[in-house]
């Protein structure tokens, strides 16, 4: 190839710097590659890629960021700036299981703040469980509620906490009777027929 000059345009597709040869788990690399292929611009895959890396590493650790950066051919700094913006991407080490307690207005009107306090106390000595107060999770109809490894459960009271944490630790479906997925719509005019409740979701995590 001739040296750059008037006759040869710079290759804009070429990565600007040498991409470090980072060892990336094969499944993670394949997932990120697949996500990048879905968009006209590969950078659009940043969120799904970071989420995938977080599932592998537990959080967006420097190692995780580096792996995503190598596969996506972007800088780690870029990915760090993205990761620090979003609540669900963890920039510190956290427990394997996430318990997001919604403490926004509708839930707090129904006692979410007390629920969050009690949940925090109950899981205080378990490093595996990451209890967080979270902004409105979009389930005010089952307030107060929590998202346990992505599974919505509610309405909850402090009395439910031991059973909930037991289910989380044992890897069982969390409080199957209280899962949002089972609920029928509230509008009495919506369903003309008598329908059974929906099945509960499986174990999270």
């Amino acid at each position: 190839m001739s040296p750059l000059g008037w006759d040869a345009a710079a290759d804009l597709e070429k990565p600007p710097a040498t991409v470090p040869d980072v060892a990336v788990p094969e499944a993670l690399r394949a997932e990120i590659d697949a996500r990048m292929a879905e968009y006209p611009d590969r950078r659009s895959a940043a969120l799904p890629a970071l989420a995938a890396a977080q599932r592998v590493h537990g959080w967006c650790s420097p190692e995780a960021i580096e792996q995503v950066a190598a596969v996506m051919r972007v800088t780690p700094a870029y990915l760090e700036s993205v990761a620090s913006f979003y609540d669900m991407l963890e920039t510190e080490p956290v427990g394997r299981h996430s318990v997001y307690v919604c403490t926004n207005i509708s839930c707090s009107l129904r006692g979410a703040d007390e629920l969050y306090e009690a949940m925090t106390r109950a899981a205080a000595d378990d490093p595996d469980v990451n209890v967080r107060a979270f902004e409105c999770l979009g389930a005010c109809d089952i307030a107060p509620m929590a998202s346990v490894d992505g599974v919505y459960v509610g309405p909850l009271s402090s009395a439910d906490i031991p059973a909930l944490l037991d289910d989380v630790r044992a890897g069982r479906p969390v409080l199957p009777e209280r899962q949002l997925a089972r609920r029928l719509v509230a509008d009495p005019h919506a369903n003309k027929g008598e329908f059974p409740e929906h099945p509960a979701q499986g174990a999270g995590g």
């Binding site: 009107l109 967080r132 997925a181 509008d187």
Partner: protein, 479 residues
């Protein structure tokens, strides 16, 4: 009135979106098709795109995400001609109190997909995305499964049903940021960046995703499209009232006995929704205030319960229909708690790009904390009200306004309660006569030595010494 307290007074209105929503298997293509699903798509593809657009415009459908902009008009803003055009479905439902899209996506995902394909045909878009909030794990899984079925059946992909129209559709999961529900913040997030809103204009219809013309609509708006094609735009427009046509999903939450989603015909009295459908507050309690359209709408009081629930009536009453999320607060709840929750949420979610929003949300929380602690002067309410006025209209997006409007309305409507709260807290702290005389002086406009700092009557004095929190955009977890 008595029947309103016990059950629904009026007969059931038309049900378009929630019709038999809990039928087992509705999330599968088989059941959806058995119930006439994808018939609207076939009918639309047999028409010219302009004819589909004409139906959308005739329907009078206004956007269900919050702003209430006419959907047909929005589609018509996209430039004509062959170029890459995008359709983005905003499924980042994170306005506090809103959970209608969740129910639709989880139980009837094909209705949304069908709406997206029809709208993309009208707009000439050939790439589409559903930006769903990361917290909706189950709903995103349901959508992914439904999308795979739709692809298999040829409803999404190349040359859909032999029409020559092609559309790709990707379910894109967010990662937890309220601001990504703002359309330009959503676009940046979808491009793989931090979700900071953009300056408008250019509007997304001209320069949106990847700088291409982009149509952005809410889930409920797009899910209504198949019904409009089925009924015909003119027939749909007969539902509801003149400037608010059709049916609307309303999410009712807070202090009501039957919280949940209800499909109503626009224009029915708000009381019928809050008391008739949702059962009103628990026995013995009344409505203190209610947010008619999510936590960013100015609050209304019990006196406003007879206002018709539609875009223009609520607008005239000084509030807005917003996302259709009614949050009811009963008369035993201190207004300060409601204001504090609201303000802290917006402080946490402010992206930090514009100063009035970043600083204004932070200041509002601090001043509310001073009132809660009994450390506020009477001027503080004035200052807090003026902070709200200075936020509104001065930022790239309306996140700051979304705090300023409800907080401003609470100060205007419950000023005496804020003052009483401060006074009681002050007494509890044992600041007796001396502090009270300070208050009297302050009311006369004199300088006041204040426990938490020094404030001149015009508010230009030193600010209260307080610990500065981390920048709002970087806070983690709840406040």
């Amino acid at each position: 009135m008595a029947e309103l307290m016990t059950g629904r007074a009026a007969p059931a209105g038309p049900i378009l979106l929630l019709d038999d929503i809990d039928e087992p298997g509705l999330a599968t293509r088989e059941v959806y098709e058995r119930r006439g699903g994808y018939e609207s798509l076939r009918r639309a593809l047999a028409l010219e795109p302009e004819e589909v657009l004409a139906q959308l415009e005739a329907s009078g459908l206004r956007g269900r995400g919050g702003a209430g902009f006419a959907m047909g008009k929005k589609v018509s803003f996209l430039p004509k001609g062959s170029m890459d055009k995008y359709l983005v479905c905003n499924a980042d439902e994170s306005e506090p109190g809103t959970f209608k899209d969740r129910e639709l996506m989880q139980k009837s995902p094909h209705m949304l997909i069908e709406g997206i394909v029809i709208a993309s045909y009208a707009a000439g878009a050939n790439r589409s995305f559903i930006y769903i909030r990361g917290e909706y794990v189950h709903q995103a899984d349901v959508l992914d499964a439904a999308l795979a079925e739709a692809r298999e059946a040829g409803y999404v992909g190349e040359d859909i049903l032999g029409s020559g129209h092609s559309l790709s559709l990707v379910v894109h999961r967010g990662a937890g940021a309220y601001i990504c529900g703002e359309e330009t913040g959503l676009l940046d997030s979808l491009e793989g960046k931090r979700g900071n809103p953009r300056l408008k204009p250019p509007f997304p219809a001209n320069q949106g995703l990847y700088q291409g013309p982009t149509l952005i609509n809410n889930v409920e708006t797009l899910a209504t499209v198949p019904a409009i094609i089925r009924l015909g735009g003119a027939e749909y427009a007969k539902l509801g009232v003149e400037t608010s046509t059709g049916t609307k999903l309303v999410s009712v939450s807070g202090h009501v006995q039957r919280p949940g989603n209800y499909e109503i015909e626009l224009g029915i009295p708000s009381r019928e929704i809050i008391y008739g459908l949702a059962g009103g507050p628990p026995a013995g309690r009344g409505v203190k205030c209610w947010f008619p359209g999510g936590s960013s709408s100015p609050v209304l009081t019990a006196e406003d319960l007879d206002i018709p629930y539609d875009f223009d009536s609520l607008g005239k009453a000084g509030s807005m229909l917003g996302s259709g999320a009614i949050i009811v607060v009963d008369d035993e709840t201190p207004i300060l708690d409601v204001a504090m929750k609201t303000a802290k949420f917006y402080r946490h979610e402010s992206c930090g790009k514009c100063t009035p929003c970043r600083e204004g949300t932070n200041w509002t929380v601090k001043m509310l904390e001073r009132i809660d602690a009994g450390e506020a002067t009477p001027m503080d309410l004035e200052i807090m009200a003026s902070v709200q006025e200075h936020i509104i209209g001065n930022c790239l997006c309306v996140l700051g306004d979304a705090m300023a409007m409800p907080i401003g309305s609470m100060i205007a409507k419950f000023r005496e309660e804020f003052e009483a709260h401060n006074e009681q807290a002050r007494r509890r702290r044992g600041l007796g006569a001396e502090a009270a005389s300070d208050l009297a002086l302050a009311a006369q406009g004199a300088f006041v030595e204040h426990p938490a700092g020094r404030l001149a009557p015009d508010g230009s004095g030193d600010q209260a010494p307080g610990e500065h929190e981390a920048a709002p955009g970087t806070q983690r977890g709840g406040a």
